[in-house]
Symmetry: C2
Subunit: 103 residues, 2 copies
Amino acid sequence: MIGPGKAELLERIERCGSIAAAGREMGMSYKRAWQLIRTLNAMFRAPLVDSTRGGASGGGAVLTENGHRVLALYRAFEAEAAGAGADHLAALQALLRDIPEER
Amino acid sequence: MIGPGKAELLERIERCGSIAAAGREMGMSYKRAWQLIRTLNAMFRAPLVDSTRGGASGGGAVLTENGHRVLALYRAFEAEAAGAGADHLAALQALLRDIPEER
């Protein structure tokens, strides 16, 4: 549903204020960046990005409240997954020899 | 250092009382099972398996106290890793539409 690439795109949109500019920073085509945002917006109950295409102001994009919520939940999920079992792993590693004889 | 296969071998050794029988249950050769146990015993500060090869009693193997400790830590690590981020993931999933328009 949402992974590292989409999360990064959302963060860059928030910073750049533009879907195209955010995608460009990630080496993504204009078309691809818009496609990902359309997918994300359709996938969730409420859109994650609010955008205006072109126009006098040149268009712009911001994260919606739901966009901020999803991004925060995703980052929290990532952090928890990365830290999971760290204590048990450290306890196991403390039982290893300093220089393993075999790997 | 220790993964699903070695953990399973240790559990089966505890149940079978024999390295060869435990390995056989996993479709492993006698040589391979012994090799894994030698590796594990050498890798940790204290051996995980205590064994006697052949002899009048036909040989046998049991987990040492350290073997039980390592196995328990590994299983705890696995369980924690499997459950990590589950709450955040559930919260994210609750924000998804029931029928995603795109995947």
